[in-house]
């Protein structure tokens, strides 16, 4: 699958309160969460983000709370994937579990600028910056995580009932 979009660039340590402030957590409706996605970090984001757009950020993206509402809000906002140097571990887990593609590459995260046109080959993890012509290789996804994605998320994988054990 080829993901393609314009980049919204953020810094390091983007926390879950920046992704979706706790004051909106009295609902779990994805559309409503999307309306406030990233608003404290960039007030223009929720109204101007286009389907397919990509978020690029520095290290430790998604640090803070365990709220699954964070990757849900990003996904519901239409963002096709997140590229970061590293991800906080609960966010990493949640993104796979709910089916938001994420890619780890320090180089790409550093080079790519706000507004660049970028494509990501989700299967191979190859990131191409169409604006500069540079390509990057994201860290490989463990096979187990790939199985979760192929199944369409963790719940689907369990529902199929063909796995006596999770791993």
């Amino acid at each position: 699958m080829l993901l393609k979009g314009k980049v919204w660039k953020f810094g390091s340590d983007v926390d879950t309160d920046a992704i979706i402030p706790a004051r909106y957590l009295n609902t779990s409706d994805p559309a409503e969460l999307a309306r406030h996605c990233m608003e404290d970090a960039d007030p223009a984001f929720p109204s101007q983000v286009k389907p397919g757009d990509i978020i690029a950020a520095g290290k430790n993206f998604g640090c803070g709370s365990s709220r699954e509402h964070a990757p849900v809000a990003i996904k519901a906002a239409g963002v096709s994937c997140v590229i970061a140097g590293t991800f906080a571990r609960i966010f990493y887990r949640n993104a796979f579990n709910i089916g938001l593609p994420i890619f780890e590459s320090f180089e790409a995260a550093e080079d790519i600028k706000e507004g660049d046109e970028v494509t990501v080959d989700a299967g191979s993890g190859t990131i191409t910056n169409l604006t500069t012509g540079k390509t990057y290789q994201a860290a490989p996804v463990p096979p187990f995580m790939q199985q979760i994605i192929t199944a369409g998320g963790l719940i689907n994988r369990i529902r199929k009932g063909d796995t006596p054990s999770l791993y």
Binding site: D15, D17, R23, S28, C63, A88, I158
Partner: protein, 420 residues
Amino acid sequence: MPMTITEKILAAHAGKEKVTPGELISARVDLVLGNDITAPVAIQEFEKIGVDTVFDQERIALVPDHFVPNKDIKSAGQAKLVKDFAHKHNLSNYFEVGRMGIEHCLLPEQGLVGPGDLVIGADSHTCTYGALGAFSTGVGSTDLAAAMALGETWLKVPESTRFEFEGELKPWVGGKDLILHTIGDIGVDGALYRAMEFTGPIIENLSMDGRFTMCNMAIEAGGKNGIIAPDEITRAYVEGRCRRPYKFYRSDPDAKYARVYHYDASRIEPQVAFPHLPENSRPVSEAGHVEIDQAIIGSCTNGRIGDLREAAKALQGKKVHKNVRLIILPGTQDIYLQALKEGLIETFIEAGAAVSTPTCGPCLGGHMGILAAGERAVSTTNRNFVGRMGHPESEVYLANPAVAAASAVMGRIAGPWEVK
């Protein structure tokens, strides 16, 4: 093969002789936890799995604590969803307002977690229970849904990092200062994906409350879990309290660590973490003149009885500054009652503080003490991200309970030694 305490607990729950860092395992869980924000999503996902019953009615704890007592109609709807699910499945560990507390204060207190347990919770501060010598970590709602159905979860075995504390504690220095200093040293991703094992003579003499505070903030350094080897202090806490048999594990002397840090506690002063990251910590004495509008004492980090005693010590016979709101939230009903019996609540109210029923409330900008644009708070909570306690242009400074109390009296960030 030598193993760390974290590896031993994971191996035991995966039914294996040994595990090694990086290995993916499926592990049996002793307890799973959800709250009024994360459980509603988990319940929706649980319904999709297509099983009729939960894996064990005794081993699922549901604690509405973030927006309760319900702050608005939407929150009430979320809390009701959790309550209805608990009743439908006959869960024995659902905690209603009046009998509840902040989840990470409540579960250990109620004896629902013990040494050697493996616990996952849909709340990032689930890592708190490492203080008991358990493996516990935060997950998302989908993971909670899967665990409620299967009684197991998938985990990647983390590398371990050891933090050794030696020397002697200075006056007014506690677990909060040790952990803020550590995060200041290694950064908010300094322990990313790793187990943080706290050891050394200082930790061996630290109270259970201080240990809970330290393990609570492991996630603030990106850690997967925080953990402290159980000892006599742990035993005194869990004996007669823990509802299930427990087991003490310790790291083998030659276990492998990704890194070992040494700290001389004699050099650590009470800390304050400046906005907007917990890693921006520095000694209170170097805080400069920072006027505050609000002080919060409570949360899963510092809402325990030991914390309230520290705050009362700094507040005894003093008055809260005229420009400051001091809000104190005991972590559980039991802690509240104990504080009442000890006269701490009287000290607080006489000083001019507001005392609340247990709730997360202002810690996550929920209710009970939201900041306006331009306002500043000193808080005993664990996060000072942008907008964490209210308006995106407000500021939160993290500190220990005595510092928060002293700051409330002085009207600016201050150490308890400054209160005359």
